[in-house]
């Protein structure tokens, strides 16, 4: 359960916003991943085209309006000057001014309208694409072999499905249109500026290399501090985690002061790196503003001179100032956007990696169905290993008759649980075969096969729901009586009724409101309710105390009657009545027989047995 909180671990991946010079993760295969991501956009191509159209229209209108506003200013200026010079009919030409302003009004309204449309349509597309990909992962998870889940930390899968997809969604929602907007704006503004004055355009365009020149060293320096900050943050987080999870010991051994001192020193280091990183990256905005102001000042000077020479008009300065102001922002955005796109493609790539994992083999022929299962299980010369270089099970053969109970014992790492993995087809055998009623299990549908089994594991998995729902997990519609009956059989009814809400008690996320032993009882009830043909108990009562275990044992004995069962146990007391005991060590069955037979043999089992009971019986 230590995995549970890793899902949204602390992290600052994909930092964005103004001046966020975090180290950006780079995708491995940019082109392929981009193409693949674009494929998901295909079903929405008409809508995307309309977004593109709306974006271009609204941007063009935005670009054109300063020019009109400049004309309006010029009109006013000319009227003003003519009045001052006392020309006949002097004064502002309100007629043409009104005309200009009305056109401007229309442009503004349309521009906002199209801008709204563009964002509105994009909202649907972006979130649906995210939904589609997540759905695909959802379906994929069902088909992935257990090998994948065992080898991949849960937190990693979680962060791919949740965080990475959020990342992709945000980018689609905002950055895509922003990018189009920015590109159109930059090109459009340059054209508009050129029509006014090439010289002044040069001034504005020159600010770009200037800002890159200024920003680069700053970004580099701040990255260094950000990295240091990340490092200290990591140290701080692990210290916190360690001290708080070991809180009991920290208190018992009076370690609070040292713990606090250590925290204080990491925290101080974090502060040093942190304020430097913030300060340096915080300089980016003022410096950009300064460069913008430089452009502004030079426009004023050069523009002023040009107006006096009558090369341009007064309104042109006005328009130019607006263009220059509008110019820096898209430049910033385009500079940022390459980072954002890199991070997004890297996120998408991580999700696609999940989608590309090898799936469980599916049956090619029609699955075999057991009509009336007698359930005789046979392992025939089974070989298996988790890793090719470390053979685990070698040439194992077992023959289980109907209704027999098979116990598997042996030290940890002997391969006991592996047997279950193979039987349930969580993993596939490398060589040999496993049959049920003479049917090779690989020829059966996995679902059909698994429906034969009921399973209780040492690791007690329950979900965030009521006790009732948890017991009834195996089926959709179960009567309350059946649930209570199963709980009674598992000796869980009593403790459930002592809970304030009884069967309606909601187990919290970590199911910490009931004890480990109680959780185990619930999982047993769950298996009982499933009413399986074959029962697998993998250390099913390890957290239950021995007296309760005896009670459960009795219930189990009733349940097991006539059923084939596999019992993996640590405590030998629970398995003495088994029909067959398999003693495993290093992946092979080294002894088999009944309890008494094995004791007489004076071998591994006998030694194991005595080591557990000698003390108590001496």
């Amino acid at each position: 359960m230590s995995q549970t909180n890793r899902g949204r671990g602390p992290g600052l991946r994909g930092g964005r916003g103004p001046g966020a010079p975090f180290p950006v993760e780079k995708p491995k295969q940019f082109k392929q991943t981009l193409r693949r991501l674009l494929n998901y956009l295909k079903p929405y191509k008409w809508r995307l085209l309309s977004v593109l159209f709306a974006t271009i229209i609204s941007t063009l209108f935005t670009i054109y309006s300063p020019k009109l506003l400049g004309k309006a200013t010029t009109t006013i200026f000319e009227g003003f000057v003519s009045k001052q010079t006392g020309a006949l009919g002097g004064g502002i030409d309100f007629q043409s001014l009104l005309h200009l302003l009305l056109i401007l009004l229309m442009l503004y309204v349309l521009s906002s309208l199209f801008n709204y449309l563009q964002q509105y349509i994009m909202a649907g597309i972006a979130q649906k694409v995210v939904y589609d990909i997540r759905e695909e992962v959802n379906k994929k998870l069902k088909r992935l072999p257990l090998r994948y889940f065992d080898a991949t930390p849960h937190g990693e899968v979680l962060s791919r499905v949740v965080n990475d997809m959020e990342n992709v969604g945000n980018t689609l929602q905002q950055s895509l249109t922003t990018m189009i907007q920015s590109l159109v704006t930059i090109i459009g503004i340059i054209i508009m500026m050129l029509t006014i004055s090439p010289l002044m355009t040069l001034i504005v365009v020159l600010t770009i290399p200037l800002s890159l020149f200024v920003l680069k060293p700053i970004t580099q320096r701040s990255q260094k501090h950000f990295k240091e900050q990340q490092k200290q943050l990591g140290a701080l987080n692990s210290h916190v985690e360690e001290m708080f999870t070991g809180h009991e010991i920290v208190k018992a051994y009076g370690h609070e002061k040292q713990s606090m001192a250590r925290f204080g020193s990491i925290n101080a280091e974090l502060y040093q790196a942190g304020w430097r990183a913030q300060f340096i990256s915080g300089m980016i905005m003022p410096l950009m503003m300064f460069i913008g102001n430089l452009g502004y000042v030079f426009i004023c000077i050069v523009g002023g001179v040009l107006v006096t020479r009558q090369t341009i008009q007064i309104g042109d300065i006005q328009a130019f100032i607006q263009y220059a102001r509008q110019f820096t922002q898209p430049i910033n955005q385009v500079a940022n956007i390459s980072n954002i796109i890199q991070a997004t493609i890297a996120s998408a790539e991580r999700v696609f990696e999940v989608l590309d994992k090898q799936e469980e083999e599916q049956l090619t022929s029609k699955p075999e169905v057991l009509s009336s299962p007698k359930v005789e299980v046979r392992f025939e010369h089974v070989h298996f290993s988790y890793r090719p270089d470390e053979p685990l099970i070698e040439d194992m053969s077992i023959d289980v008759k109907q209704g027999q109970s098979i116990a598997i014992v042996g030290p940890t790492g002997a391969g006991k649980t592996t047997l279950v993995n193979l039987l349930m087809r969580f993993y596939e055998v490398d060589k040999g075969r496993i049959t049920i009623d003479n049917v090779d299990i690989t020829k059966m549908d996995r679902g059909d096969l698994r429906s034969l089994f009921g399973m209780v594991l040492q690791e007690t998995w329950l979900f965030n729901g009521t006790i009732k729902e948890n017991i009834a997990y195996s089926q959709d519609h179960v009567s309350d009586e059946a649930i209570v009956k199963a709980a009674e059989a598992a000796f869980a009814d009593h403790f459930i009724r002592t809970l304030p809400e009884g069967y309606e008690t909601v187990l919290n996320e970590e199911a910490s409101n009931i004890s480990q032993g109680q959780r185990q009882l619930l999982t047993i009830a769950r298996a009982i309710l499933a009413n399986p043909t074959i029962l697998i108990l993998d250390e099913a009562t390890s957290s239950v105390d021995t007296r309760t275990e005896i009670h459960i044992q009795q219930a189990m004995d009733n349940l097991l009657k006539g059923r084939t069962s596999f019992i993996i146990a640590h405590r030998l007391s629970t398995i003495q009545n088994a029909d067959l005991i398999l003693v495993m060590d290093n992946g092979t069955v080294i002894e088999q027989g009944t309890h008494n037979e094995l004791l007489e043999r004076q071998g591994f089992y006998a030694e194991l047995y005595h080591s557990q009971y000698q003390q108590a019986t001496s």
Partner: protein, 580 residues
Amino acid sequence: MNVMLALFKFFKPYKWFILAILIFTLLQALSNLYLPTLMSDIVDKGIVNNDISYIIKIGIYMLIISVIAAVFSIITSFLSAKTAIGFGRDVRNEMFSRVESFSLQEFDTIGTASIITRTTNDILQVQQVYMMIFRVMITAPMMCIGGIVMALSKDKMLSLVVIVAMPILFVIIWSIGKRGMPLFRAIQKRLDRMNLVLRERLTGIRVVRAFNRSDHEEKRFEKANHDLAASAIKVNKIMAMMMPSMMLILNLATIAIVWFGSIRIDHGHMQVGDLMAFIQYAMQIMFSLIMLSMMFVMVPRASASATRIQEVLTTEPSIIEDGAVEAEQPISRKEGITFQKVTFNYPGAEKPALADITFTARPGEVTAIIGGTGSGKSTLLKLIERFYDYQEGQITIGGREITQWPLKQLRSQIGYVPQKVALFSGTVNENIKFGKREVSDEEIRHVAQVAQASEFIARMKEGYETYLTQNASNLSGGQKQRLSIARALIRKPAIYLFDDSFSALDYKTDAALRSALVEETKEATMLIVAQRVSTVMHADQIIVLEDGHMVGIGTHEQLLNECSVYKEIVASQIKGEGIA
């Protein structure tokens, strides 16, 4: 919002910094705002009079002002970085020391995982928002105020346009924000839900598949996914209105300014350059309002975190050292532990975890406690450590009620070995020394020997200097248990509490350890909690617990005769064999 304010007290040490930030921000805003005024001079005096040298002179002024503005904002950036990051550091320190003062009960209530995220993520989140506030939220109002002042100074009549437009803009931001906010919260909830569903599916993958419930889980996820997408679409569609409508108001205001401005120019009340400057002021004012609208996104996110932080900071530790008197002598080793009718309830629990417990554990003796899961065995040890305070009765140690001892003194006399081993990242040496700082290497080697740990430590690459990773994942369960025992031994305490501490040991090690312990702990008071009869049967007295009640006390032989629960326990473990 209120919680965000509650955290404001942490800014107190920075009040001069903050004042300086405010002043420099205002100066910087004013410098930036002065530029349009200079520009209007260029237009109205330079251009109108064809005075190029005047244009250049003003241009140089503008350059100087730009440099000054840049310097001011760099100073601001420096101060706000120091303040916001310093704030984060201070809150973190306060939080950590507060948590270190907590007893186990506070951990139970809030949850360990939650306390960890609050100390790490939540503080980071809040710190980032304050950083943003310094960068944006202070600049924006300053720009706004400065803009209004300058606009008024240019032309009072024309300022009316701005004064009309501002509330409209504000209402639009507010009304869209008001509709969007609950949805943002809903998204957060649904994200959490999706996380939960997926996490459960991953951790329970074997069970899901064994019960053929993959389709069921798929549907659960699909629903979570669908709900999330629906909320996200909705909120994005609402927020899509934000920018366009704000821009529209801004642009309409500009048109109005030009129109009314032209009339005033025509009447000779103002000049063209003034109008151009005025338009820029209006833009500044409006943009600063738009920047403020970012509050809608930033603040709720941080205020959720602030609430969680505040919750921890205002939680009072349940164990307080009221009435504790520093004793000059360490706890006497001669008197052992006495329980007198002790009853303890976990807060909110219906039934007491321990009820009416009375016994005496004497020095030099072993007192064992046995019972089923949930019978209260571990709780009993935790009461002795004073992790919780009992409600009724009395526990005395060394002749004094335990609440009369300072916690430090009390705990320093106890060697506690918990059920769940917790080791820390650091060397083997450091982990053993955890219980006592100043010890010689011989002592460490000696206790390792007793705990049967010296052999495997010697086998490790760097022996006692071997670095253990977090949770000591490079050790086996049994090895961890032995180190945890060595850690208790090195304190040479008056009292030992062993909570099921031998469970991961194999038979041989267990036996060797136990006989070595006898010598080492001859004079100490020993309490051993166990599940196995074999562990407790040689104890001087055995306490049998059932559902928090004592149902038997005595030696193995006595209990076999008198106590039915004990008999059952024994029978369950030695099935089919003769009972001695």
